[in-house]
Symmetry: C2
Subunit: 215 residues, 2 copies
């Protein structure tokens, strides 16, 4: 009689395990939508057994919500981080920000699937809706700050409208570029985005395209 062998395992730090579970969740959702992200599939991809999920998260929904927060932070971080290395010239900073938002890894089919999958959950989960709202408004405020720094005199109302419009261009291009990656040439989204933002603001930003950063 063979004794049934128990699966060997390693103990890990709490933070490491949480990150692994979140990463597994995001990987699965990006791969096939929320429906394939079952507790068992997540556990398997994270290299643990299903029961462990409830050791680190109150429920599956709690893990999902944590994953959403994680991905939204990652996305905005990518666009904002570029400002640290950006020059001080306001136009160049704006161009760098727009460009960073319109190329990988921000523009990415998997990122869109993640976004869509979580957006759908905002109907059931008020906390996830709040996460969405604060992420969106935070990004728009960032953009409005860049616009306000331009050498122009704008009223508060004008600033708000321009920020909304520029944000919309970025969001729309992000959406379409992520959903249909093959429909656009490399760098095309950045060029169109910078040009359009410039037109909305009444500036010729294309001169600053060299601050666009790497592809």
């Amino acid at each position: 009689m063979l004794t049934p062998e128990r699966r060997p395992y390693r103990r890990e730090a709490e933070d490491k395990r949480r990150q692994a579970l979140i990463a597994a969740t995001l990987s699965l959702v990006a791969e096939g939508g929320a429906r394939i992200a079952t507790v068992r599939a997540i556990a398997e991809r994270a290299g643990v057994t299903a029961g462990l999920i409830r050791h680190y998260f109150q429920s599956k929904d709690s893990l999902i919500a944590a994953s959403y927060r994680h991905v939204m932070e990652r996305m905005t971080h990518e666009s904002v981080a570029v400002l640290k290395a950006a020059p001080h010239d306001p136009q160049a900073r704006l161009v760098a920000f727009v460009a960073a938002s319109l190329r990988p890894p921000v523009v990415d089919r998997d990122a869109l699937i993640l976004w869509a999958s979580f957006m759908q959950e905002t109907k059931r989960d008020a906390a996830m809706l709040a996460t969405h709202a604060s992420t969106y408004l935070g990004f728009r405020d960032q953009l409005q700050g860049l616009i306000a720094a331009l050498p122009q005199d704008r009223s508060a109302a004008e600033l708000r409208q321009m920020a909304i419009a520029c944000n919309a261009v970025i969001d729309g291009l992000w959406l379409e570029g992520s959903a249909l990656p093959d429909a656009f040439a490399k760098g095309e989204l950045v060029e169109i985005g910078v040009t359009a933002v410039g037109a909305i603001l009444g500036l010729k930003l294309t001169n600053y395209m060299l601050f666009t950063g790497p592809f």
Copy 2:
């Protein structure tokens, strides 16, 4: 001994039943995302029993795909239909088109949830991805046609870029307005959208705002 009473029913035309099932599906998905749209919930909302779904659709996935096609057709139809009643002046037609895309029922939280829910499924279902691509490109072509009709001389490449940019503005504003209805004043999206599209095209479209249509 009480004979178990069988639920009474009416026979309906095939088309009517299919429409009812699709409507029930959309209503559920919009209400709480794809996860609450189970065969039993759909059947209940449509006023039939679960088994009937498979009498009209090969599988649940087939019903989902049909529902997606239905909602996408409905959304683009709304924007395009306005052109039939629109004047012949190219600028006015463009404004009417943009405005129709940026107010209810196109801008609508439920519509966004539907869109997001189905977008996520495009990862598993190639047919649904194709539905998305043809809808997006169809809408953009429509827009490009309106831009080409303007009294300007544009190269094909310019036309393409402008159509992409204008489409992005519309998509972005639709997205944000649908996701956070309370973040924008009534008519604000239309005003911002028309202004931004005008800026991108180098036109002053705000004079044509009276062709914006009703709210």
